[in-house]
């Protein structure tokens, strides 16, 4: 039972990280139809910014310095996403192939530049001493970092929920995911919503980048590749543009992957691919997705 609980919570923690990667991707595609392959670069920039901040400004790691490095990573990811949107993607709306090519290019250039500045070897993110501790729940010893991933993702989900549900820009974003042409035909400059979504998506990716750097034992220029693939799978399974769908799919994928890997070693990724295929065949709009205009 303790192992079952441990794997379950570890799966939720992994799902929480997937959610941080996927939520921005989902909103960006849902609102703008942009298949953003540069999203992994937002993750890397956030992770490196958090690392740089923690190492350069805080010789001794504390709870505060770690919390600030997560925040700095998030802001750096958000600002980088905004920069990419303003400089590149803004000029390519409705040109999907060009967007895919350019965003792949951005991710390669960003990785090369980060490699030039920080080197290509993994750099260990300074974490507080409690990072490697475990707390006892029943008979299970749960690593504390998993709970942090879950907590931060919940905070991000609440932040996104509040923005989307209770602000004017959130209303515009929700409407734009359904029908952006009609939003403009109501006299609304939908580009402001585009920029907001890019910033928020980059913010979540940046925060996720710092946490993933802690989870995976270090940050390197190309470390975001696998996570981006899982991010895309979560978006497709959850439904393009659906935040709730992304959260549900991230949990489903994180938990099932962990359980399958434990009880049938090596088959975790296979099960995720099967899940993806089933969704594409029987519910192509995703678990909670809608058909956009």
């Amino acid at each position: 039972m303790d192992t079952f609980l441990l794997i379950g919570i570890t799966g939720i923690g992994l799902g929480a990280l997937y959610f941080l990667v996927a939520c921005g991707l989902s909103l960006i595609y849902g609102l703008m139809g942009v298949l953003n392959f540069a999203h992994g670069a937002f993750l890397s920039v956030g992770a490196f910014a958090g690392y740089w901040f923690a190492v350069k400004l805080f010789p001794v790691t504390s709870n505060l310095s770690f919390a600030l490095s997560i925040l700095v990573g998030g802001i750096a990811g958000g600002l980088f996403a905004l920069l990419v949107e303003q400089l590149v993607i803004k000029r390519l709306y409705n040109r999907h192939i060009d967007q895919a090519l350019v965003t792949v290019g951005v991710s390669l250039v960003a990785a090369a530049m980060l490699g030039g500045w920080f080197g290509h070897d993994p750099l260990l993110l300074p974490t507080p001493t409690w990072w490697y501790n475990a707390i006892q729940i029943g008979d299970a010893f749960i690593p504390v970092d998993r709970l942090l991933y879950i907590g931060v993702s919940l905070l991000m989900l609440i932040l996104f929920f509040v923005i989307l549900r209770f602000t004017r820009i959130g209303l515009v974003i929700r409407a734009g995911v359904e029908n952006r042409t009609m939003v403009q035909a109501l006299g609304i400059n939908v580009k402001l919503a585009f920029s907001t979504v890019f910033f928020l998506g980059g913010l979540a990716a940046g925060v996720g980048g710092v946490l993933i750097a802690g989870y995976s034992g270090g940050v390197s220029p190309y470390f975001s590749g696998t996570w981006l693939i899982y991010g895309f799978i979560v978006v497709v399974v959850g439904g393009m543009g659906s935040l709730g769908g992304s959260a549900l799919a991230a949990l489903l994928i994180g938990i099932s992957r962990q359980y399958v890997n434990y009880y049938a070693p090596g088959l975790g990724d296979f099960v995720v691919v099967i899940l993806l295929a089933l969704v594409l065949i029987f519910r192509p709009q995703g678990l909670l997705g809608k058909v956009a205009h």
């Binding site: 359904e178 042409t181 035909a185 006299g187 939908v190």
Partner: protein
């Protein structure tokens, strides 16, 4: 004086000429009906005026040239739009649908709710769960919240049950008494009731502009619209 002047309006989509030089004007404080068979370019004309479709030619709202403006600026300059097929936001509530359309500092909810009191009662209902007629009420109400120099209305009674057609027609008649409107509509009874001028299109161009009295001419109606006067 013209509230809206459309000159040599052309639209090409995927290599196909949808509009081939459309010319007409809409008088201020009057309703002009844009008529024609299906697929002649009526809805495309409205979308080109709004900048939704890329186009060439000239569109003038009052004295202002809006040809090259972006859609949201065109709407903000004083055009209200009631689209074909409602295009309400299904996942948003009625209240959110209306609130999204607010541009004026004091949106005219009084007018919207006086025409469609039902919407006030259903404020917290998701718009996607409304009937077709109620969705049309949302689409019309959101265009009425802001002061507009002209309303572009695209097939407002399309697909509605006869009882709802009457209700929507009554509301449009009330709006038309105090507004400038360009309406695309197949229901000739409604057109006769509210319009003063007609513009008839065929194959992407205007083939007739004139007074509403022409719709009483059976031969004219049959030739341009392919229907009989009695049938409509």
């Amino acid at each position: 004086m013209s509230a809206l002047l459309v000159s040599n309006l052309r639209v090409e989509i995927n290599g196909s000429q949808i509009l081939k030089g459309v010319n007409f004007d809409v008088r201020a404080n009057s309703v002009t009906a844009l008529l024609g068979r299906n697929g002649v370019g009526k809805s495309s004309t409205l979308k080109a005026i709004l900048g939704i479709y890329p186009h060439s030619g000239k569109v003038q709202l009052g004295e202002r040239d809006i040809t090259r403006e972006q859609t949201y600026r065109i709407v903000r300059s004083g055009i209200g739009y009631i689209p074909e097929d409602r295009e309400i936001f299904a996942s948003l509530t009625v209240k959110e649908n209306l609130s999204l359309a607010e541009l004026d500092e004091e949106p005219n909810y009084e007018l919207a709710y006086s025409l469609f009191p039902e919407l006030k009662e259903r404020a917290n209902q998701r718009a996607g769960t409304l009937s077709g007629g109620q969705q049309q009420m949302v689409a019309i109400a959101r265009a009425l919240l802001n002061k507009s120099e002209i309303l572009l209305v695209d097939e407002p009674t399309k697909g509605l049950a006869p009882r709802l057609v009457t209700e929507v027609a009554d509301a449009l008649a009330r709006i038309a008494s105090n507004a400038t409107m360009l309406i695309v509509e197949q229901n000739l009874a409604l057109v006769r009731r509210i319009a003063k001028d007609i513009v008839v299109m065929d194959q992407g161009t205007v083939v007739f502009s004139g007074g509403i009295e022409n719709l009483n001419d059976e031969e004219f109606v049959h030739r341009h619209l392919g229907v009989s006067v009695r049938g409509h």
